[in-house]
Symmetry: C2
Subunit: 147 residues, 2 copies
């Protein structure tokens, strides 16, 4: 998508841009953690299944979101010092987190419906312009005086 941090024009190659949904990392992490309690570094790779390209998500972002969610009470963590290497902070979803995720789901549903309505409006407009006023851009020849 052009503008903002995702480029600067039409000439883009494909769906290369990151997420369009704000704070989408939160529900993704919750869903992953709900399936399996694990630590941040491990979650990093699992995020691919939600469309995050391999190098897209910075680790620090994931860690920050996890800590924020713990502070909010959606997840809880415990240090895991059993395996080799540095200790891991293993997160799991709390009951509040479950509720929070459910709210997210509801929100995403309505967002999706909203998108659908928008696309439908666009499609309807296309059809109308294709038949009723071909070649015209809408609002042509108005009463504009100043320039």
């Amino acid at each position: 998508m052009p503008r903002g941090r995702w480029g600067s024009g039409i000439g883009f190659g494909g769906a290369a841009c990151p997420r369009r949904i704000s704070r989408f990392l939160e529900p993704c992490l919750l869903l992953l953690l709900r399936e399996d309690a694990t630590h941040g570094y491990n979650l990093l790779e699992s995020l691919r299944q939600f469309g995050f390209a391999p190098g897209t998500v910075d680790a620090s972002v994931v860690y920050r979101v996890l800590r924020e969610m713990e502070e909010a009470g959606w997840v809880s963590s415990q240090w895991d010092t059993a395996g080799s290497g540095p200790p891991r902070r293993v997160y799991r979803v709390t009951a509040d987190g479950e509720e929070y995720l459910a709210v997210w789901i509801a929100d995403l549903r309505s967002t999706r419906d909203e998108i659908d309505r928008f696309i439908e409006t666009y499609t309807r407009q296309e059809a109308a312009q294709g038949s009723a006023k071909p070649g015209q851009k809408a609002g042509e020849g108005d009463h504009v005086s100043g320039g």
Copy 2:
């Protein structure tokens, strides 16, 4: 939706929060302008049809987006001094703006599909937890040693 500027907890009343899609105002304004070239103040009310509640969008935000889009070349404007009251800046969509909107549509389509996949994953998880491991939260009884 909890967190951020839209509250701070589960106990919300309905879909009171604004958009979840970043920069959504842009395509909305483009779509409205494509149907009818008009000025910012007039667009303010028309935005309701895209789910923006009456008092949700500040006028200055709309004006800013319009000016940004003009700078980018997606819309062009002309002063209309014909009617009574202060002069209006009438915007219309350019050819580049048409292309830009088409890109937006494509992006929104993929975003919607992404949401659908996410919701589906959630639903599948629900079903699996309901049948396979009832009452368990996933990852219970792991090899966590440290506290």
